[in-house]
């Protein structure tokens, strides 16, 4: 679809449909807009949208929830008890320990059919569905929508033996999802059981990687050693998802479903194409709990340059959380900046680490790094090598605290660990 056509669809859906609906029906949106004296009639162009529509964020949703006793934070545009529309109430991942419920009105496959096709799944195939229950049946419906059959596997270290067994016996062609902690669990199991992972996983044409990212070295182990082609998959501001294509040069999002802005993390000005900014998201389709100019706290790069695969929709690169950034010696450091340096050291190749962030600007970079407790060289030497590796990568010498890998993994949930700790 040409860019001008994408932009026309976006404007029609946003200005002509979504905004009036959200302003009329979402108590949070109306409260936020009324507070700055804006109504839906005041937003008739994209310029007016950028100039006039106020931001909302997670704190605003929680504050509305607590103030009004509304578990949905004022987002809902329809009564969740309308069982002719809704079948279930799911929840956000709640990494902070505070999940937000979200009514589900799904009827059939989601936009992910496009991604699953790109993974290489075709009608009649088996598809490894490795996730959690709280996401609801949307993924299942999408796998069925492509004509494939889901094979249910828990996203848990304890289920790795069944993952390998079902992969061998049923020969699935696609897999949703793999994560950093699951990579570690598979490696540990395979080492103990003597499993040939390249043989076990030889039927897969594509695997999504989401939740906890992995560093470049771990990605090479999975891609070269296990023979899996990974497709990074990320949420975009709670209004959709983005997934790599076979070019693996950014995650495609669908601009007929959402409008994404990359803005100055400390202000409202847009950053340039491809520059680091905070992701601000607006749905074009969600009439149930629409997010409009939602400051996600995610730092990203976005480009609208056409991809070598031929798609004209935008691409996004997830970089980290704004709240995870530390500034030390005048340098901005995100966990993603440290990954390659930490996993380059053999005992810490799992890439399990946390940045100790007492405040945004700190005098010293403090890291808690997980290491493989069994075997390896002496710990004193390990700390020195880690310090040198990080210093070589970012030019900042860290203070390193070493802990057993399991101590960090216990902080779960199973698909990711907190990358920033207050102490």
């Amino acid at each position: 679809m040409p860019r001008h056509e994408i932009e026309r669809v976006r404007e029609d859906r946003l200005l002509g449909d979504l905004l009036p609906w959200a302003y009329q029906r979402s108590a949070l949106i109306r409260e936020a807009w009324d507070a700055v004296g804006v109504t839906a009639d005041d937003v008739q162009s994209m310029d007016q949208f950028h100039e006039r529509v106020p931001f909302i964020d997670k704190n605003a949703i929680r504050a509305f929830r607590d103030r009004n006793g509304d578990p949905y934070g004022g987002m809902l545009c329809l009564d969740p008890k309308m069982t002719e529309i809704f079948s279930a109430i799911f929840s956000t991942s709640g990494t902070t320990g505070d999940p937000t419920p979200a009514p589900y009105a799904g009827r059939g496959p989601s936009m992910l059919v496009r991604e699953f096709w790109e993974l290489g799944c075709r009608p009649g195939d088996y598809f490894t569905y490795c996730l959690f229950t709280f996401r609801g049946p949307g993924i299942h419906d999408t796998i069925r929508g492509i004509g494939a059959t889901p094979v249910f596997v828990d996203h848990q270290p304890a289920d790795v033996p069944q993952l390998i067994r079902f992969s061998r016996e049923l020969r699935p062609t696609a897999w949703y999802n793999l994560s950093g902690p699951l990579v570690l669990a598979i490696e540990q199991y395979a080492a103990a059981a003597g499993t040939d992972l390249a043989e076990a996983f030889s039927s897969y044409r594509g695997v999504t990687l989401a939740g906890e990212p992995i560093g470049p070295r771990a990605r090479r182990r999975v891609e070269d050693g296990w023979g899996l082609e990974l497709f990074v998959h990320t949420a975009v501001g709670d209004v959709g998802a983005a997934t790599e294509c076979r070019e693996h040069n950014g995650c495609h999002y669908w601009e007929d479903t959402c409008y994404l802005e990359a803005l100055d993390p400390d202000g409202a000005a847009p950053v340039g194409d491809g520059e680091r900014g905070e992701l601000v998201s607006t749905t074009l389709l969600d009439k149930i709990a629409p997010l409009v100019r939602y400051r996600s706290d995610d730092l990203v790069r976005i480009t609208h340059e056409p991809c070598a695969c031929g798609r004209t929709h935008g691409r996004v690169w997830p970089l980290g959380r704004k709240g995870d950034e530390v500034v030390v010696e005048g340098r901005s450091v995100l966990p993603g900046d440290l990954w390659a340096a930490i996993e380059a050291v053999p005992e810490t190749s799992a890439g399990l680490f946390q940045v100790i962030r007492t405040r945004r600007e700190v005098d010293r970079l403090r890291l808690r790094v997980g290491y493989a407790a069994a075997g390896g060289r002496a710990r004193g030497d390990l700390r020195t090598r880690l310090t040198e590796s990080v210093h070589g990568a970012i030019g900042v010498e860290p203070d390193v605290e070493l802990v057993d890998n399991d101590e960090l993994l216990r902080q779960g949930p199973p698909h990711k660990i907190p990358r920033v700790a207050k102490q």
């Binding site: 069982t83 009608p123 004509g147």
Partner: protein, 225 residues
Amino acid sequence: MTFAKRYEDPPEEWGVGRVDVDGEVTPWPVAQRDIDDEADSLAPRLAALGLEPGGLVLVVAMLSQAVHSVPLERAAGRIGALYSSADSTPFDAFRVAALTRQLGPQVVIGITGGVLDGLVDADRDPVEVLGPVRSVVTADEDAHARLRADGLAAKRWVKLGPTSAVEEVAGDGPVYDASRWRVEEHGGELVISNLAPRLTHAAALRTGIRGRVVEEGRLSVSVSA
């Protein structure tokens, strides 16, 4: 073939779950009609636990247990109720607590010892979290014993081969659907056969569950899987 056509005419296999057969995890393909029929069968049992139209059941399970958990979710819709989901792990215990507080479910089904451990680790009192719920149904003996010891009248959910047996309010043994399944006792172990058509046939399948058939449709279980 187009996506639209595939969605109108999806494969017969709805999914591949798993069932414990004689102590072994066994891949278990099921059809959409199997899930629908199990949901029809379970709806009155959820209603008997106190789930009402407009109410909500929180189903606590793992994705690998879809053959058993999805019929419970669909059964809620048969009643005109909603469902919500959480994983039955210590990690996800916070979600059980949060959704129970936020959504006020009439029934919470699938509580395990691991979930109770997760609540305790998070400094949450399981009785305080689950006490306001009309019916709390456990998925293992550990959780059942602990909640009973704490004074909650917990019921049992037993995964009986490819189907479920669920204890009702009276608490006099898990109830299975005798019109769809035949359950017999062989040497103290429950074995099950399907009477209604199923994609994967169960013929005297050893469930690994020790117990006996008290009367047709009702069990006494000494050790559940």
